[in-house]
Point group: C2
Chain length 402, copies 2
C-alpha cells in the first residue's frame, strides 16, 4: 500500500469540481461541489443515527436503495435540516445535478452541511450548477467547497493491489463541530476504482466506519446531516471482489488507511482545537470495552480542558473511564502521556506516581498528544481521537448563526 | 410548606461548624466541616455511579450499613480518590471526628472533594479538628468550608407539617464542575427533625434524587466523589413515618422542595456559568422520555455555547433531542425560549418560525433562561437544569491542578 495524492480523483474515472452558487452569500467561497464517475458505480453509505435527519439524508437513502450511483452533489452553508420545503429542495438539488451531468436523478447522492432550520436557497444552485467544470485534479476544489467551520481541507488516498491489479481509493471529508461517535459520520466522500460488489462494499464500509469516524469526538453532539459514502466504479479492472477473501482484506486495509487518516484530520481540526488528542486503551478484556473507555476519555470536557492547559491531570482520565460504564479494574490501570517531546507515566496500578511536572508540561504542549491507558486485563485494544476544549470552541459556537 | 433559613441547622437538634486544617494550604479558607446531631439519626445516602469511587464513599457505605449515623465530616481541597493510603486516611478522618464528638466511629459519614490522585494530608485534620465549634447557626460556615470551584454557597430549608407537628428539612451542597446526571450526586448534606424509618427515608431519597440532582448537568463528567446524605433525628416529635401514607407524601414534598432548590443552585453555579439554563419538556409519552430529552438539551455543548452567546439557535435543541435516543416525532415539536424578558416561539411542528431576533437576543441575555419544548404526543413532562458553556469554564479547567 502506498500513500498517494489526488483525494476523490485519485481513483481512475473520477472527476470533481465546484461552484460558488451564493448560498454563503457574504463569503467569496465556492459552496457546492460535484464528484462524478465516468461510468456506473457500486455505492454504499452510512448515515447519522440522529432521530432528526436532514432532508438530503432521506433523498440519498432512496437513491441508493438499488446500490448504484454516478455522482455526489454537496453544498455547504445550509444543512437543509428542519427547514421549510426540505424534501422538495433536496430533490431539486439532485435534479439539477442530474441535468448538468446527463444522468438519472436517482443516481445522485445529495448532501448538505451548515446551519439548521433555514430554507435551502436551492434556486442559487439551480442557477449556477451548469457553470461547474469537472476535472481530474478537482478534488482539492471540491474539498474547499464543502467546508463550514473547518479551518483546512481533509483528504487522503492510497494505492493498493488486488488480484495483481493496481487499485486506488481516496476521499475528502469535512467536519469540525457537532461531531461525536456513534453516528453515520460527518460528510465523507470516498471513491475507488476497485471492482467490488455492493454487498462487500457495504460490509467493508459499515465495519470500518465503526473503527474510524465513530471513534472521533469533538463536542459530543451528533449531527443531523452526517453521511459517509463510497463510490466504486471498477475502472481498475481487478477481478470483482465478491467474497471475504484475500482481495477483500486488501481492500479493507486500504479503506481503513484512508478512513483513519480522514478521521484523525477531523479530530485535529475540531472547532477551536489547538491539538489532536488520541487515547489508546490496551490490554483490555475486549475491543468493545477498550473502545468505550477510549471514547469516554477523549470525550470528557474536563480531560479536553486539561489538554488545552497542558495539565497532566490524570485523575480526570480515570474519572472518565469510571463513568463510561465499561468494566475494568481501577487498581490495574496504568496511564502515560506521550508526544513528540517524550513520555511520562503518571499513574501505575491505579495510584499516583511521582513524575516530572516540567516534562509532563512539555509533553502535553505538543500539537499531537497520546493518552496511553493500559488496563492490565487482557489482549484487546482500541484507539479514539478527539481534541482539546479551548476558548475558541466557545467563541465559534457562542454565535454561529448570526 | 414554608421556605426558611438555617440550612443543615434548620432542623432541631443539629449543629454545624468548620475549621481550617491547612489542606488548601495557600488559601485562607476553612476546609473541613462537621454536621452533628445531638441524638441518633436514621440515615440514607446515594452515591456516585462512577466505577472509580473515592475512598470516603466506601467508608461511608460501610458506616451506613446499619442505617444509623450521628455526624458528617467533610473536607474540600483533596478528593481522596485514586490516592495513596486512601482507605486508611478516610478511616482516620472518621476516627478523628468520632473522637472529637464522643461518638462511635461507624456513626460518622465521611466525604471529600477536590483534586484526584494526591494523598489526603489527614494529619492536618487530626491536628486541628478538636478546635471546631459546633453551633446552631453554623450551617453557613460549614457550607463555605466544603466549596471548591463553587463561587457561592448553596443552601435551602423548608418547614412542613406531619401529623400535626411542625418539621423541618434543610441542606447544604457543593458542586460546580465534574457534574452530570446519572450519579449519586455531588456533595449534598441534608438534615431533618422529622421522625421517619430508614426504609422510608431511603425510598424517599432515592426517588427524589433521580428527579432533582440527577437532572442537573454542568459538563457531562460524573465525579468519583458524589454523595447525597440525609440524617433524620426525629426531634420534631411527629408520629413515625413508616408507610407511604399522607405523612410520607408531605415529607417527600418537602424533600423535593429542598433538593430542587439545591439542584438549581448547582446548575446556576456551574463552572464558568453566566446563566442558569432550564429545559422543560412537556406533552411527552412518558416521564422517562421527557427526562432524557431535557437532559440531552441542557447537556449539549453546542446548546450551552449558544446560550452563552444568547443565540436562538433552536436547530441545536432539536439536534440534541435527536441523538438522545429517546423516541419523539420531530414534526410535532414546538420550541420556545422564555425568561424574565419575555418569550419567543422559534419552531412550531418541527419547522422554523419567523421570529423577532432582537427580542430573542433580549430573552436569552437574562441570567435565567428556560428552553420550553412541547413534543405534542402525550401528557408527561420533566425538567432538567444546566448552565451555559463559557470561556471561564475552559479557563477554570485548563489548569485546575497546578
Amino acid at each position: 500500500m502506498k500513500i498517494i495524492d489526488g483525494g476523490v480523483c485519485a481513483a481512475q474515472g473520477f472527476t470533481a469540481g465546484s461552484i460558488r452558487s451564493g448560498i454563503k452569500d457574504s463569503r467569496a467561497q465556492d459552496d457546492t461541489a460535484i464528484i462524478f464517475s465516468a461510468c456506473e458505480c457500486t455505492a454504499a453509505a452510512v448515515y447519522t443515527m440522529n432521530r432528526v435527519k436532514a432532508a438530503p439524508i432521506y433523498v440519498t437513502m432512496e437513491h441508493l436503495e438499488n446500490g448504484v450511483a454516478r455522482a455526489i452533489v454537496a453544498n455547504a452553508g445550509n444543512a437543509n435540516a428542519c427547514a421549510p420545503d426540505g424534501m422538495e429542495n433536496a430533490r431539486r438539488m439532485a435534479k439539477a445535478a442530474a441535468h448538468v451531468l446527463g444522468v438519472d436523478e436517482d443516481d445522485i447522492v445529495v448532501a448538505s452541511t451548515g446551519v439548521i432550520g433555514q430554507r435551502l436557497p436551492v434556486e442559487c444552485i439551480e442557477a449556477h450548477l451548469s457553470e461547474i467544470k469537472l476535472t481530474e485534479n478537482g478534488s482539492a476544489q471540491a474539498n474547499l467547497a464543502i467546508m463550514t467551520t473547518d479551518t483546512r481541507p481533509k483528504t487522503a488516498a492510497v494505492e493498493f493491489t488486488v488480484s495483481g491489479r493496481t487499485c486506488r481509493i481516496g476521499g475528502i471529508c469535512k467536519g469540525s463541530g457537532m461531531i461525536h461517535p456513534n453516528m453515520g459520520t460527518m460528510l465523507a466522500f470516498l471513491t475507488t476504482d476497485c471492482a467490488i460488489t455492493h454487498e462487500m462494499l457495504t460490509e467493508a464500509l459499515q465495519d470500518n466506519v465503526r473503527k474510524t469516524y465513530n471513534r472521533v469526538t469533538v463536542d459530543g453532539d451528533t449531527s443531523t446531516n452526517d453521511m459517509c459514502v463510497v463510490l466504486a466504479n471498477g475502472a481498475a479492472g481487478n477481478a470483482l471482489i465478491e467474497w471475504q477473501d484475500e482481495d477483500y482484506q486488501a481492500f479493507c486495509k486500504a479503506l481503513n488507511e484512508v478512513n483513519t487518516r480522514l478521521a484523525r484530520q477531523i479530530a485535529a481540526d475540531g472547532e477551536g482545537a489547538s491539538k489532536l488528542v488520541t487515547c489508546t486503551v490496551s490490554n483490555s478484556r475486549s475491543e468493545e470495552v477498550a473502545e468505550r473507555l477510549a471514547k469516554a476519555v477523549v470525550g470528557s470536557n474536563l480531560v479536553k480542558a486539561a489538554m488545552f492547559g497542558a495539565d497532566a491531570n490524570w485523575g480526570r482520565v480515570l474519572c472518565a473511564m469510571g463513568y463510561s460504564k465499561a468494566p475494568f479494574r481501577p487498581e490495574y490501570v496504568t496511564v502515560a502521556f506521550t508526544s513528540a517531546a517524550g513520555s511520562v507515566t503518571v499513574c501505575e496500578k491505579g495510584a499516583a506516581l511521582d513524575f516530572d511536572e516540567a516534562l509532563a508540561k512539555k509533553v502535553l504542549s505538543e500539537s499531537e498528544v497520546v493518552i496511553e491507558v493500559n488496563v492490565g486485563e487482557g489482549e484487546c485494544c482500541a484507539t479514539a481521537w478527539g481534541c482539546d476544549l479551548t476558548y475558541d470552541y466557545v467563541k465559534i459556537n457562542g454565535d454561529y448563526r448570526t
